[in-house]
Symmetry: C2
Subunit: 200 residues, 2 copies
């Protein structure tokens, strides 16, 4: 099922008889214990940095992509959706996952179009972030999209999305109040806020 | 091995013959496919919001805890360590995971003491954040710790940590430059920055 996605899962999944190093950890064996089209879970047998025997379970992921879309009136687009793992309704920036053989900016353009219908003439990288680096290898790639053209959204089949356009400062207030709980959204909005202050 | 930790894993893992709802998703079956003392992976058979049949893999986690420790000279404590899932060395605020039958503030005091040797007389909540809400149920609980007393660190056996004390503004510069990549650290430092601005 997921063979076609394996290009994005870069960690070694089978090791020869010689133990391998991962920084101060020694990796003796590595086994894939779960895999679906979005994540792969690896169980490693290790020696810890202090020399004791142990295990490490790693969640391997696709690149995450998040986009702050800012229009000419300094308004930004928020997506409302029910997040299955938490069982809660959330407000976030447009987000998605990278696909095989797709560069990150192409993925960002695709996700923005799918979720909001927008296309953008100006793209600025807002850097990367490790979302949960004790558990997973997920890296989020953050972008600011400007000079927007409005079109029709094309959400994928697993999504039921609500789109709201709010003044950028209202989105920042949602970050500060905790109304926006998503880490990628918070970091991307903070970085946008700093970028806008630099430009001013 | 992990039975003693199950108190923190709150999601249902076996369902009766009646399908259950998770917002606009219908959950037909739920199976634990991997478990270690730190994470549990659940594979659900679902009907998606648009009515198609599908699956959802959820990584269940312990509460994450992150602490910005600020001393009387406006310096903060950063932890350097090799993060196994990424295979990279990172600089972060002191962080850890909550334990069974331990409230979050107690966990924050414990993690701060273990990683830095510090105890703090003043604790301020900095709110929560969902670290990777498409994949896991992880919630990070963020704190500001002040009025610090220095003691000896007590790192746990899996950790090999470096501790650095830097001016708070240097830590913020590391967030802005990307030298700090960890999402919890970035959000906690941004929130501390805003809190300090409010106090001033």
């Amino acid at each position: 099922m997921s063979a076609g996605y394996s290009g994005l899962f870069t960690s070694a999944v089978s090791l020869g008889p010689v133990a391998e190093r991962n920084g101060p950890w020694t990796v003796h064996a590595s086994e894939v214990v779960y895999e679906n089209p979005w994540i792969r879970v690896r169980h490693d047998t290790v020696t810890t940095p202090s020399g004791t025997e142990g295990i490490y379970g790693v969640v391997e992921t696709r690149p995450a992509i998040g986009i702050v879309a800012l229009d000419d009136e300094n308004r930004t687009y928020l997506i409302g959706q029910h997040r299955y793992p938490h069982g809660t309704y959330t407000w976030e920036i447009p987000e998605g996952a990278g696909r095989d053989h797709e560069d990150l900016l192409t993925g960002a353009r695709r996700e923005l179009r799918e979720e909001t219908g927008l296309s953008a003439a100006r793209w600025t990288p807002l850097g990367t972030i490790q979302t949960s680096n004790c558990i997973s290898d997920e890296v989020a790639y953050l972008f600011l999209a400007e000079e927007l053209t409005v079109g029709d959204p094309e959400p994928d089949e697993t999504e039921e999305l609500e789109v709201r356009v709010v003044p950028f400062e209202d989105a920042m207030a949602m970050v500060r109040s905790g109304a926006i709980q998503d880490a990628m959204s918070a970091v991307a909005l903070y970085r946008t806020s700093e970028l806008l202050a630099e430009r001013a």
